[in-house]
Symmetry: D2
Subunit: 468 residues, 4 copies
């Protein structure tokens, strides 16, 4: 279904929190099937829509739709996508309003043939670029950044000699966060923005090259991790092999720290850092910064578990399972009504009474956004018999919106923007509340010189977002 | 599903045999629901995909998908399409390869806001226009003419003061057949190409204006027929009322004669001619030109019935029902295999033995394309006991392909291109075979001065199609 | 979906207006596929649900669901139904409340193996039989007669030596209308009730035998008509051939006359009578009984067409096409609201202005049930310019409900039960109104001695229905 | 879809591993919605099909289908199921052959009205009972035990004065494992077989009573746990309150020990035992019985986690996260082909390199069935850098099939039936392998006198299964 019953273009544009995967085959692999598995392992980066485009001797075909990877693709769809190059995409939606035409990859014909583009990130000067393009007669059928990028590449391609050169020139006009995979007639091209907000890595499977948002996608297809694409780098994969254009590299990195804290999968390694290790380390520092006198440490599934293990290890307080999580909640689940929620319907998480009853509990989670969920969990623990609940958060308080492709709501919805820590403690009903300090945050990565973006905590944006 | 597993852009482009409907409301009508009924009455013009776009105070929303009108739209979809202007489209596919992204209306953002375009026809210089646009950086996401038209309008809009002026300028660059409905922020605009290949008419419902491919769509919503849009005319409907731009009018008409013979619905009136009457008249002339000594006249359902009644009336030979047609064949019907078909499986049509047994039968149909179906029907009649079968065709032999939006196959698939009438008679097994003469064709319309396109019969194309 | 959200068993039971088809293969035919085509040609007898059961060396499998034959069965379903005996069913629902568990064939295991039963008709003493069976511990999972029949057969099977003997004994306990096809481990058995209310005929395809509700189903698979099953006859088809049990034959027939007037397909031959011919003959008698001074004769599609042709032939008044019927209305069509209907929305039928304008019209239909549809059509004809509309009905007035498997509403909903003919004329707005007389009805069949049931016209029920 | 394309009744019958939930409302709750949440929390007990039946003043309605709770039920389905008593069911399928007609609850009409039955367990003398019932004329439309139970109740009901009395009498004829919820015109009845193989508990929500397979379902709707139904007990809930029939109680319990080890949810409390605690305790005993010299303890998600925490706690070796599990695998996931699996495709589990690299690992799981999965996981750990992998299993070796409703394959598929522990160690590639001893098993429950069934480990069946 190609449905768009929400207003179009009234709202600025969709958030682009996504995962990308591409393969240039030299071994006779089934590229669509490998992309399917790659996207599946990146599903945590986007559950709203997905798509795969393939290039079969310069003839492009694609399939994309709303839904999870295993809903959108069945054997039939995969079997029909024959080719030797593929690019895939999973997309996250920030609201119920799912604008279907924004599903990616975007496949479009331009002066030199066909391009398929998969994009992760958020361009902050989209409107300015669109205005300029429209003045030259451009029309837009979607509100996705990828269409803007396609137009920029097409516009530059008229004036220069190759796709990669067009991409390089287009990058000069784009401000913001983007990791791209571009499939052209004969090439697969990986791109990261000059500050490297979003991850993108290179892998190898036999003689074939792979690009992916996270290294867990390489593992999922049995490929070997080669290296991360550098901030500002353009990686061109073609029949002859792989090469780099580094004209836009600045040596500066502003990798999103939130990828480590929450967004990436624990088994991924990004910029040489094991995501799992950074989370455990955050838990350990949290234990040092915010100790508590308690009997057990528990984590809120799934995002708080890793830090909880770190906290327990550092503090010497035993780690325990605090909750049973129902794994079967699908997209069409009927949510309990407000009054049911308050009178004790426990659908998704159920506190494990035998663990927490009569205990002083340290409850670790990765972040507090609005505070209501946290409060509900604290209440459930107390009802299950916890005598004290000490909430520990493995990142600093969220105070600022993100303009670089992560779906963090605007400040007035962020509890920490409106309230002091003591107020939040009262709101959530916790006996004590402690956050990781911004100083502590600096030490969750092994490489302490690594440049990252922590604008959501600090309010300091590495580029002009045009929002203030 | 947004699926395209066929090669994209390798093939020239899709055929655009379609129906369009638009309404500018001044009375508080439910525009989406009226468009639903309008499209439903135009379903015979296209069964592959359909769509409706609405404009609600300049906010556009739409829903489109593969399938029949009553499959794509349920109460939910209609209810969500609120607005005061609407445009809808039904589309026909010539092959199983249904390119989903080509569903219409095409909704796109351009320099002055948003446009929705519904198109019926076929532009013959698409490739030349696309090449030119791509040289200026344009990208194309579909292979539909409507996207080309949208780009031309957007390009001209930069240089001039209104949508209608942009359309007028765009028309100067387009060669071919097109009836368009364009919905902009504040206007609903109807357009016919300068030769008026495809029909488009204007209706009124209370104080609201309607545009539709055929007058039967006006009847279906209870509207009154006002007049046809003239060849080359641009009709602009806005809050203040309705007005015309006739700069591109030539006074010349090349309306497709096949609309009367087969394509339009019998209850439509086009260019002042009742479609039903033209068919009956074709049958009468056929009876004069090709008499036969027989007991009964029958028509092949549904397209041969009207001419059969005319033939019977003129010849004085009784009209009879010759076949029972199964009305339940849907898109997913499992076709009988070749050998089953030959051994007598009669799924769609069953000859009515009690009518034809022992009779000399005149069997009237509107045309013969490949000849195989006709032969199968003649055989079925003989098996049902017909002693003679005299085939009479209410149009001249098909010999030439159509480049103006009607799906007639290329010449080498047309029996009449490859064979004499006597050979076709032998192929079909008919006892005699007679076609309407091209001279007879001239008289099927009341207005004998009316200029029409009969290129499929004559090979004389009114514009340079670039194909020869 | 197996959904039943209506109350169960509160209402008496479902009406069983249906079509049945069965094949015992001796030639290696694909029995499921042939049954698919057979059911498809019987689709007019039931559009709510359908099913096919096959017997593969005594292993039974089946597929059934709500929907049309071409919706429920795709290649996959047909391919999985391998076997050498098959039985199929199409079912009609009288209301929106579609009780899914009632889909047929009913497949059940009993003392001697498995039985599949397809049933057309209506048993009038169901409740009495169920009460008796329940007293012996029976449970019922559906409200369909076929389950009652299965229980009776199972009960008798304990006491006697064969399925056919059990069926014979079961028939002694059943009052009402039923044509059955029963598939057992090694046999295909056809049964008609002793009065033969519903049709059932025998055909042959190569060396294989077929049973079907109507002969058009034999045509559809290329089979030859052998004969009708006699009222009260049990036809047993097995490896050795075909044989009959006629113990329950009475020599008496009460075939439903409505099968000829409306229900059966015109190309079927039932009891030696061409359905089409009976309809034409009804039209001729109607013309004699109810002449009118008029310019043209038209039929209401589709059921009034055949009689209209007879009326025209007899009266010498020219037959014309009066309406264009939209063929695309599917089950999910959004009905116009009441006020739209009255203000002129013409969705299903559109009067053909060029035929009727300025004419005195004789409009023939097969029956009037509630009168509202007829009135709406008369109004449409007048709006299209008809100067007079003379309604002629090719059957006597409907006054009594049917308890034998035809969905005719209860008397208080029947216009003719509540009103005189003159009153109905006024209600419908016709200039004159004439029905076929009950005397005329006697002559619509060639065989004037044929015994039929006309209870819906006469109120004389051939068996005690327990309703009065 | 009501599809059964597998052979029917050729195979013995379906396994009945399931969850049940019922509510008798006295407060005006939305019983269907509460049942929805209850079933959702029991989803781990069965993912193949589900259903809900409601009783609205003695009018029954239901909805059931193949699929997960959140797939089968949307708002519409729930909204249509109005009533004051409800019963629901989730069902597990052992194979791809999903026999749809076996979905529960089974709703059937019998001599005293209507019954809805939801069943968890497996009756071992089904065939004998069916044979006997068929001799009295019974027919069976499904292969589910619930239909046999319904027949027995109906048969007894003819002879006695109440449903509960009929149930009591039926129990005397049934051998095997069953926890039942029966909904009649005015009652909700809970039943456990005399040995109490399967769990069933009673809860209260305001003034309404609930029956559920596990206490986690009570938590999910905010109800309070009252007590377990006793082995052999019949609990009758009606307007007047709740009462018990204990004539079939033996004081003997043979609760399935596997419910504690694997099947039940960790947050459930069964027979006074916290499931989570029993699993942790199993891990602790395992650590004592089978120590290993290692650096970390990890659990195989999700079933091995709880025991791993116990093992770590007892041994003092740090607990670590060993794997990332992909949570998005749905029913339609395309499985990797055999060769892909062997060449390293890691879809469901990915070993967490940063945890295990360079470490000696103790890997805890709840059981080994065929051995292939375990071997694959060991291999993955070694590839991720584990220097040693010591496999520890928190239950004794599986050697015998289960006839009481748990899907354990036949012995010849059980690795432990065919191989010594040392052989299994070699097959899985583990450096050492240790199982919980049967003596250790005795101590995983707090109540060491509790009688349980461990036939799958011991081969000692508490009732005659008729299989040997």
């Amino acid at each position: 279904m190609d449905s768009n019953t929400d207003y179009i273009w009234n709202n600025e544009k969709v958030k682009e929190e996504c995962g990308v995967f591409g393969i240039f085959d030299n071994d006779g692999h089934d590229v669509a099937r490998l992309t399917y598995y790659g996207l599946f392992s990146l599903q945590h980066r986007g559950q709203e829509s997905c798509g795969i485009a393939v290039n079969n001797n310069m003839a492009f075909s694609y399939h994309k739709d709303m839904g999870l990877v295993n809903e959108v693709f069945k054997d039939k769809e995969i079997d029909e996508l024959k080719g030797s190059i593929a690019v895939g995409h999973v997309r996250y939606s920030t609201t119920g309003s799912s604008e279907r035409q924004n599903a990616q990859p975007l496949v479009s014909k331009y002066i030199k043939g066909t391009l398929a583009i998969a994009h992760n990130g958020n361009i902050v000067n989209t409107i300015e670029i669109k205005d300029e393009l429209e003045k030259n007669g451009a029309i837009f059928q979607t509100s996705a950044d990828s269409e803007v990028i396609a137009f920029l590449i097409a516009k530059e391609r008229v004036k220069c000699g190759s796709v990669e050169e067009s991409i390089k020139r287009a990058m000069a006009q784009i401000v913001g966060a983007y990791s791209l995979i571009v499939m052209s007639a004969k090439k697969l091209i990986g791109v990261r923005d000059p500050l490297g907000f979003r991850p993108l890595c290179i892998g190898k499977l036999d003689n074939s090259y792979i690009l992916a948002s996270e290294s867990c996608a390489l593992d999922s297809v049995g490929a070997t991790f080669i290296r991360d694409v550098e901030p500002g780098e353009i990686v061109v994969i073609e029949k002859d092999g792989i090469r780099s254009i580094k004209d836009n590299c600045t040596g500066n990195s502003r990798m999103c720290i939130f990828e480590f804290i929450y967004f990436a999968r624990p088994d991924s390694v990004i910029e040489g850092e094991s995501v799992y290790e950074t989370r455990k380390r955050a838990g350990k520092i949290l234990a040092i910064e915010n100790p508590a006198d308690a009997d057990i440490v528990i984590g809120v599934p799934d995002s708080g578990i890793d830090a909880a293990i770190g906290y327990a290890e550092e503090s010497g307080i035993p780690y325990e399972i605090g909750f049973t999580k129902n794994r079967y909640i699908g997209r069409t689940f009927i949510q309990p009504e407000q009054n049911q929620r308050e009178t004790g319907i426990k659908i998704k998480l159920n506190a494990l009474k035998s663990s927490v009853n009569g205990k002083r509990v340290i409850m670790v989670d990765d972040s507090i956004v609005r505070g209501t969920t946290c409060g509900r969990i604290v209440k459930a623990l107390k009802e299950a018999g916890a005598t004290e609940v000490h909430v520990r958060i493995s990142s600093p308080p969220f105070r600022w919106p993100c303009y670089f492709g992560t779906d963090i709501p605007s400040s007035n919805q962020l509890t920490a923007y409106n309230h002091s820590i003591e107020e939040i403690r009262q709101i959530t009903g916790a006996d004590s509340l402690g956050y990781l300090s911004t100083n502590g945050l600096k030490h969750i990565l092994k490489n302490e010189n690594f440049g990252y973006c922590d604008a959501c905590f600090s309010g300091i944006y590495p580029v002009n977002t045009g929002k203030c």
